[in-house]
């Protein structure tokens, strides 16, 4: 008796909340447990509409995609959130940067785990993006009509490496600075434009990274590269849908088809 009375109150409250103007102004349709509402939510929600309403059962299997593209995107989100937290405490100045990292690591609440997550997620993202690319190649999923989305993917792969590379300098420890020195010295050897590229990267004529280098790498790392990557990701995800969804497992080969057609 008591339970049913309580449920009655709960049901009444739920019903009145769901019929209120506030609720109905936010949610334009009912809970997505009917085919109509399952379609409406995918079409009406700005985040969900990057997905189609329906997907092929075969293409959705975990053992087909291994979720590698989704994991790469998720790691990008983790890196954005942990990165914002680190930005609260990090000053891109050659005299302060190293000390800031030490403070984050030892004196800030959740500082160490956040920095650790940022670092490990960055390495994982390089791995997951590479594996995603390898997976797509073996499934031949770059073939028409998906050629251009593969090219967008190659750009995203490069952006992932650049994001990781620019972040490497920021702690201003010995290995970071020397790794960037090795990397940016490479630019010197580019034909014709080598000197100019090196000067642009380092921010001057110095042999080692300086304050100029630090502020450049910082700005690229926290602002320019993530924005560019976000734009390319939007194009990448949208085109998956517009090019007919995931390619799905490869069809049978020519010889297998012939074998089946033979009497």
């Amino acid at each position: 008796m008591g339970t049913s009375a309580k449920r009655g109150v709960l049901d009444q409250v739920t019903a009145s909340v769901k019929s209120s103007q506030i609720w109905r102004s936010i949610f334009r349709h009912g809970y997505p447990d009917t085919p109509l509402n399952q379609s409406l939510i995918m079409m009406g929600n700005v985040f969900l509409h990057l997905h189609p309403v329906k997907v092929s059962r075969q293409a959705m299997r975990i053992t087909y995609t291994w979720c590698l593209g989704g994991i790469s995107f998720f790691l990008f989100l983790v890196l954005t959130i942990t990165g914002v937290f680190l930005m609260f405490y990090y000053i891109p100045a050659d005299q302060q940067a190293y000390g800031n990292i030490q403070t984050i690591q030892s004196a800030i609440a959740f500082g160490a785990i956040t920095r650790n997550m940022h670092r490990w997620a960055a390495h994982l993202m390089v791995i997951s993006v590479s594996l995603h690319m390898i997976r797509v190649f073996y499934h031949g999923a770059y073939k028409p009509p998906r050629e251009f989305n593969w090219v967008v993917g190659v750009v995203l792969f490069l952006l992932t490496l650049l994001l990781s590379f620019t972040g490497y300098l920021l702690p201003w420890d010995q290995i970071g600075v020397l790794a960037i020195q090795v990397g940016s010295n490479m630019a010197n050897y580019a034909p014709v434009i080598g000197d100019a590229v090196h000067r642009t990267l380092i921010g001057g004529l110095d042999q080692y990274p300086t304050q100029n280098t630090l502020i450049r790498f910082y700005t690229l790392h926290v602002l320019f590269l993530p924005l560019v990557a976000a734009v390319f990701m939007a194009v990448h995800f949208w085109r998956i849908r517009k090019d007919g969804g995931e390619a799905g497992p490869p069809p049978p080969s020519r010889s297998e088809v012939e074998l089946n057609e033979a009497p």
Binding site: W150, Q174, R254
Partner: protein, 174 residues
């Protein structure tokens, strides 16, 4: 494309109501695809993958601290070897064999351009493994080659980029 005509004026006005692609039109002979709703079938998988990843990342981050070497000082003696981040150690290994213009600039540029051009070079329309033996063989050799030189650059190179065995010392940073 459907059009409407304004009846009141002589001037025709057009509105795009819908663009229907050829392949989207239902044809009787076209087999119905075996498809499921994204909500909940795909979204639950994406959600679980995200949860699993979060748990893994949290556990790893609780267990292992991100490295932080000594503060950079231009007057300090440099370490035995300055290594790039691990994903560039394959290229750094190639620098050991080839001039920097080739190994450090032209080759990575060529690899990226080549990767981007893959769909336009590979004209084979079939996606079946048995029809793509050449493409798969070339790509596999490329991946294995880069994996091997990356591992060599990471664990088998020490001071002055001299060959070391992993048990002779660790010259690797994450």
């Amino acid at each position: 494309m459907a059009t409407t005509t304004s009846p009141s004026s002589a001037q025709k006005r057009y509105r795009t109501l819908a663009v229907v692609k050829q392949e989207a039109i239902t044809r009787v002979e076209k087999q119905l695809e075996d498809s499921v709703f994204v909500w909940p079938h795909l979204l639950i998988r994406e959600f679980l993958a995200a949860v699993l990843m979060s748990v893994m990342l949290t556990v790893v981050s609780l267990a292992i601290n991100a490295p932080l070497e000594v503060r950079f000082n231009v007057n300090f003696p440099p370490p035995a070897v300055a290594k790039a981040p691990w994903y560039f150690l394959g290229l750094q290994e190639l620098l050991h064999y080839f001039p920097p213009t080739l190994a450090g600039v032209l080759l990575p540029g060529f690899v990226l351009a080549g990767l981007a051009a893959v769909p336009y070079i590979d004209n084979n329309p079939s996606r079946a493994f048995n029809d793509r033996k050449l493409a798969i063989a070339i790509f596999t050799m490329f991946v294995v080659f880069f994996a091997i030189i990356t591992v060599i650059g990471s664990f088998f190179r020490g001071g002055g980029w001299q060959w070391v065995w992993p048990w002779q010392g660790e010259f690797f940073n994450l």
